[in-house]
Symmetry: C2
Subunit: 305 residues, 2 copies
């Protein structure tokens, strides 16, 4: 099989800043996206770490329209467009295609548990057929810990067979290295993104195309560096350095921790807001986070202050 036009590299599920009334802070979001692109990091807006499910559908349309309107390249965007509702998935996906997004990252419908492969297949088939646009590029978002709805090998095979060139890849957030290997072995050329940078080197070595990682929001240059030099002699050292940063951040809720980091390194406390049901880090957690990162000489170069 061939996978035309597969996106590659490092993408961040872009964290979404909020104003004091919890509305979306578009100016800060635009600035953060520009900074990520300046580090050669793509924009997986509306990911788990974007608090996408905490955004209304209207907000998601407004955000993506705004980012494109201000001139950010849609080809570098892979918005999350998989909703519980089939018709909301269709509307948001179609809009992303119309705007020229490089791809879409689609969760399965995630409310009902224990659903059949047939049911998930029908969800994606309805979306793809109703949109009916050859520009559509679907990346399946495999994240059983959060969605509780996994993509089996058999299901991926059926989708690839019936929608070649449309279903082109996957973000595998299971953290299961065996699953990465199984997917790439089953589907050579599959556009396989590791779910975070801890498996980036392994993923590149087996034939994957990069990673989509929360922590690309705060360490984009470091992660892109490994993507660029994964064949270099010191690649394992780069991986180890990245892992140390990741380890410091994921002691805590990733979203809250990353927002705290941006607030801290940009001296911009307005970044330190999340929407319920998430909560901000408390003082003790925040201090521990920044202290641990200082020990690693961590910095966020170029972040606007």
């Amino acid at each position: 099989m061939t996978t035309p036009n597969t996106m590659r590299g490092v993408l961040a599920p872009v964290v979404t800043p909020f104003k004091s009334d919890l509305s979306v802070d578009k100016d800060r979001l635009i600035a953060h996206c520009k900074w990520l692109l300046s580090q050669d990091c793509g924009l997986a807006i509306f990911g788990t770490n974007s608090e996408a499910t905490s955004l209304t559908m209207d907000e998601r349309f407004e955000i993506i329209d705004t980012l494109v309107e201000v001139g950010l390249d849609p080809a570098r965007m892979m918005p999350g467009t998989g909703c519980c509702s089939l018709f909301e998935s269709i509307a948001l996906t179609k809009h992303a295609v119309d705007l020229g997004c490089g791809g879409v990252l689609m969760l399965p419908p995630f409310y009902y548990k224990g659903v059949s492969d047939e049911g998930i297949y029908r969800n994606f088939a309805e979306i793809i057929e109703r949109i009916g646009d050859n520009r559509l590029r679907v990346y399946l978002y495999h994240f059983p810990q959060m969605s509780a709805v996994p993509f089996s090998i058999e299901l991926v095979q059926r989708l690839l067979e019936n929608f070649p060139g449309i279903v082109v890849g996957m973000k595998d957030s299971s953290g299961d290295e065996d699953n990465l290997v199984a997917m790439i072995n089953a589907f050579p050329g599959f556009g396989l993104f590791a779910g975070n940078e801890t498996l980036l080197l392994k993923n590149m070595r087996i034939g994957g195309v990069g990673c989509i990682s929360a922590t690309a929001n705060i360490n984009p240059a470091g992660i892109v560096n490994l993507f660029d030099f994964w064949e270099a002699d010191n690649a394992d050292d780069i991986q180890n350095t990245l892992d140390a940063v990741r380890k410091s951040v994921q002691q805590f809720n990733l979203i809250s921790a990353m927002k705290k980091m941006i607030a801290h390194y940009a001296s911009d406390p307005d970044w330190n807001r999340v929407r319920p049901p998430l909560i901000e880090l408390d003082e003790i957690q925040a201090t521990k986070l920044i202290d641990d990162l200082s020990l690693l000489n961590f910095e966020m170069p170029g972040l606007k202050v």
Copy 2:
């Protein structure tokens, strides 16, 4: 504590019929709601069994507006209004209050797993405070198997203390009898609905107010009969009869099975549609379901043919 104006009785999470293009079939929905009300069964539209999360927000607004416009009593409605997105929860809940609904049944935001009680509390506090309407009556929807986000005793206590007369009850779909008892012991007068009729008699005996059950869609009169006569000598016999019907239905996906039953007993095959990720019963399942129900002499009296 007192719980003013608590709803009581039997409510059905009203199943949602779809046309062949999968759009909402409003005529069949209205007819089904009228039949349920004629059996003295309330309308918990937008429940898990209504495929609520498979509906768009726009569809939910249209449905509730339509039902009220055709003259169905909003005081008998307890729509599900808890979404992943805080602001969608606020919009839908406010609309239900403005229409005069007897209450709302609210899931916690259900995408993020392992969230804190503080985060769930903030979600409900924001909703209640931003709506700021004393007519609001919130029933918490405790369904850890599906939402993966439970309501702890401590969280319920905090909500009741801070929003007395607004947070008034719960649908406990855990199926855990001990949890029902713990809730009613902790909060005497709490408007506690069992999550299905198998615990209806027990719930009434400990001081609960009824049940909200999927199978009230297909056996409303039977379940209402137990609610009306739970103190009668033969109440356990009535419970046993209800349980046998429930057991036949829940061999299969409840939603698909109930739609098949309505299609069968109303001789209306158009009822036999679900939205992905659900799928219809296959022929073998459907035959087994109807055969098992025939052995119980099950009927759906008054259902329009």
